[in-house]
């Protein structure tokens, strides 16, 4: 009787070790079915402190910036070469004068900048002024030490511009507020919000391909033409340093 009882107490499920082995087996089955996702997620958390940090990001961004600059220079050279072949208009290169803004009237009716470079530094009436972002305006008058720039938001300003996507010319009119109006003399023009505006290759005042702004809203209430409000890329309210481009439109 006693011996029988002893046999019944030694069955495999009575051993803790066996249950542990079974649990490990189940876990491995789960890992196999989930294709190791548990391990991958676990690795995600333990490797987090060692991920490529801010320093590496800076290096990558710098490399990308250099790559873009090289590409930009190559494209510029290509553009100049092709323009020369096609006998299109071009502006003189490398003739930039850096100037600081010493007076700024970017609100109200009078929208102008006064720069600290004048006729003494070679600035001439009609020179183009660009800032970070793109076109700001044209030099309207010069004194010995200063030059005055009419901003493209001024009610006096009217410029021929190029709408890049639909490939059409338009007229950019300053209204005395921060958003000049683009007038397109065709009702059927396919213009959309977000279209990019640059200086027109047909313009006699500006060299071609200077970025100006982006279409912000379109007004189709007029019968014979379409108008659009343009958000400028260069912000005259905040720019302190500008570049004066000596225009030589051929």
């Amino acid at each position: 009787m006693l011996s029988i009882r002893r046999i019944s107490t030694s069955r495999w499920w009575h051993k803790k070790k066996n249950w542990i082995l079974f649990a490990i087996f189940l876990f491995l089955v789960f890992v196999r079915i989930s294709k190791g996702s548990f391990y991958k997620d676990f690795y995600y958390f333990i490797s987090k402190p060692f991920w490529p940090g801010q320093f590496q990001k800076e290096i990558v961004l710098k490399s990308i910036e250099q790559e873009y600059l090289i590409k930009l220079n190559l494209l510029k050279k290509d553009n100049e070469r092709l323009r020369r072949i096609l006998s299109l208009k071009e502006s003189s290169n490398g003739d930039h004068i850096s100037a600081a803004v010493i007076s700024r009237k970017a609100g109200s009716w009078w929208r102008q900048l006064i720069l600290n470079k004048g006729s003494k530094d070679g600035v001439e009436i009609g020179n183009i002024v660009i800032g970070p972002g793109g076109l700001l305006g044209r030099v309207n008058s010069t004194s010995i030490f200063t030059s005055s720039v009419t901003l493209i938001t001024s009610p006096e300003s009217k410029l021929g511009v190029w709408v890049d996507r639909p490939q059409i010319n338009g007229l950019l009119v300053g209204l005395g507020d921060d958003f000049p109006n683009l007038i397109l003399y065709s009702k059927n023009t396919d213009i959309k919000v977000g279209d990019f505006i640059s200086s027109s290759p047909a313009s006699t005042l500006l060299p071609p391909n200077i970025p100006i702004g982006i279409v912000q809203s379109i007004d189709e209430t007029l019968k014979s033409k379409k108008t659009a409000k343009i958000s400028l890329l260069a912000k005259p309210h905040v720019i302190d340093w500008v570049q004066i481009l000596k225009v030589n439109i051929k």
């Binding site: 009716w109 005395g176 958003f179």
Partner: protein
């Protein structure tokens, strides 16, 4: 030398108007618009010297400010002449506090007048191109200018008036 400055204070301050006009600090503006600075000087000066002198000085101010702005097609002269003439007809108020607020109202009205005359010139210029309706958004320039001019006028005009009166008294002595 000191006496000369005291006597000619109003004339000397006249030459600072274009500089303040060009100064245009962003932190002082509303919607990018500044108060119409020449009115702060024109009001006390015209009140002291009368309509005719106010009209002449309005013309001078207009000529100087037009030469500073680049708009060759539009001018500030009509507005300033009219304001100079109008301000010359205003009498002094006995009660000081009312006087201060009155300067605010008068300068607001003057700014509205100058702004509207300038705006009408822009509308008229673009009337033939049938683009004039686009310029309606510029009304906000007038409103911001009217508010700011009215807001600052009581502080600046009353001080200038006090200085001009003092300088005139010295001149007659």
């Amino acid at each position: 030398m000191n006496k000369f400055f005291t006597k000619k204070l109003s004339i000397i301050s006249f030459f600072f108007i274009p500089i303040i006009f060009l100064w245009h600090p962003n932190w002082l503006g509303l919607l990018g618009v500044q108060p119409y600075w020449p009115l702060f000087w024109l009001l006390p000066w015209s009140m002291i010297h009368g309509s005719f002198n106010g009209l002449i000085v309005g013309l001078f101010l207009g000529l100087i400010l037009d030469s500073l702005t680049l708009d060759h097609n539009f001018t500030q002269i009509p507005g300033l002449i009219f304001c100079g003439f109008l301000f010359g007809r205003i009498k002094f108020h006995k009660e000081n506090l009312v006087g201060h607020f009155r300067y605010g109202l008068i300068c607001s009205f003057g700014s509205f007048l100058c702004g509207t005359l300038y705006f009408l010139q822009i509308l008229f210029r673009n009337f033939l191109d049938s683009n004039s309706l686009m310029f309606i958004s510029g009304v906000k320039n007038i409103l911001a200018e009217v508010f700011l001019t009215g807001f600052f006028a009581p502080f600046i005009c009353s001080q200038l008036l006090r200085i001009f009166k003092f300088s005139r008294r010295k001149l007659h002595k």
